[in-house]
């Protein structure tokens, strides 16, 4: 497991690294530190924007390399010459490297986003961040292996090595999506409850008209009812995302999207009611 510490995430733009065997430049992420604790919202936005730009550039390069790879591969299987094999091997190596770059930047974006997402239990977040770090480290190792692979056998071995990385990346990507989605909704739920409580106190203290007071109290009760209805799906998702419960049979068939939709709908309704009460 790779431990990355110290400083603030400093990936701003892709660095052009020279490969050892050929002179083909490969886009690789600049040296990064994933310790982003203590970053402000402005820092987070700046870093995220820079990373997204890098990601888009790398994806464009990857797509170009993928096209070249397909053409060279087809060419080799068609004409079966040593020269075409050399071209195909070079193109395969190149596209594998740029794919690793894209995935590494994607993981960095995911890490930054997860780190800055509130509403997630610290232990759960730490566990997910460690998984990202481990996968990033393994992807870097894989990239190094690809970088030194010069023949088809070596590249085949890297392709086999990537099989496990593929399944791990897919699973972790899904987990990050669920954690960030849950964290965002939980944060809004917490804020909605806090504002509702504050508004309730304010209304009770300042509202002089008994009819209006009664009307506003009914509205606030309705908001509370809404928030109470959001609680079960939120609890269900939280339980399912806790790594402690990953082998629990009750969490295997959970429909996260359905629960997210229910929570989001309830929160949206509560906010709408709050705005109505404040305006009146």
């Amino acid at each position: 497991m790779c431990v990355l510490a110290g400083g603030v995430l400093s990936l701003a733009r892709p660095a052009l690294a020279q490969t050892t065997a050929t002179s083909t430049p490969v886009l690789t992420p600049a040296p990064i530190s994933l310790d982003i604790s203590g970053t402000s919202q402005a820092d987070f936005t700046t870093q995220l924007t820079a990373l997204q730009t890098t990601y888009r550039n790398q994806l464009t390069t990857y797509r170009d390399n993928e096209k070249t790879f397909q053409i060279d591969k087809d060419q080799y299987y068609k004409i079966q010459t040593l020269a075409s094999l050399e071209e195909a091997v070079r193109a395969t190596r190149q596209v594998m490297l740029t794919r690793a770059d894209v995935l590494l930047t994607y993981l960095t974006i995911s890490r930054l986003t997860l780190q800055n997402t509130k509403g997630i239990d610290t232990a759960v977040k730490t566990d997910a961040l460690q998984q990202i770090d481990t996968l990033s480290s393994d992807l870097k190792d894989y990239r190094k292996t690809v970088d030194v692979s010069q023949d088809r056998t070596a590249l085949l071995n890297t392709a086999i090595q990537f099989l496990t990385l593929n399944s791990r990346t897919t699973a972790l990507s899904r987990r990050i999506y669920l954690l960030v989605g849950y964290g965002n909704l939980q944060t809004v739920d917490d804020k909605t409850f806090a504002i509702k409580q504050e508004l309730q106190t304010q209304v009770e203290q300042t509202e002089t008209d008994p009819l209006v007071l009664a009307q506003k109290k009914r509205g606030l009760d309705e908001i509370q009812r809404n928030l109470d209805q959001i609680n079960p799906p939120l609890t269900k998702v939280r339980f399912a995302l806790d790594p402690v419960n990953k082998n629990n049979s009750s969490v295997t068939g959970i429909d996260f999207n359905q629960n997210f939709t229910a929570i989001y709908g309830g929160l949206s309704r509560s906010l709408s009611y709050l705005q109505e009460i404040v305006k009146n």
């Binding site: 995911s110 085949l156 990346t169 990507s173 504002i195």
Partner: protein, 134 residues
């Protein structure tokens, strides 16, 4: 006294005397003796009285209306809700700002807009097919 009473109560006597009263009365009517100037003056007077009366009525209506309105104004003043204190207004503005912020958070929390999907790359890139493992 008796004759007078009989004249007032006896309808037959009254009926008989009626043509006589009509005939005799016409020559002694003082109105017929009025000159055209006097008639014109009387008409003027009537007009003046009518105008004055009309004006008086309008004035009366005005007074009534004003009298009716003035207590209402006082009533409105009494019933008006107290002007919200600056503190309440400030609270409302602050609350509105917080709700706006919450609205932004909610928009950002829309799970359908969460862009963390796995990159659209080919995860099975290989030049040679990977041998099946037993």
């Amino acid at each position: 006294m008796t004759d007078t009473t009989e004249e007032l109560t006896n309808q037959t006597l009254f009926s008989n005397q009626e043509p006589l009263l009509q005939g005799g009365g016409s020559s002694s009517n003082p109105v017929e003796e009025l000159t055209p100037e006097q008639i014109a003056a009387q008409k003027k007077k009537k007009k003046l009285f009518t105008l004055a009366g009309g004006f008086g009525i309008v004035l009366l209506i005005l007074v009534i209306v004003l009298a009716a309105l003035s207590p209402k104004r006082q009533l409105v003043k009494l019933q008006a809700s107290p002007t919200p204190s600056p503190v309440t207004q400030a609270n409302k503005t602050e609350m509105q700002a917080r709700l706006d912020e919450l609205n932004d958070d909610l928009t950002a929390a829309d799970p359908s807009k969460l862009d963390l999907s796995i990159p659209p790359v080919d995860m099975n890139l290989t030049l040679d097919p990977i041998p099946r493992q037993n």
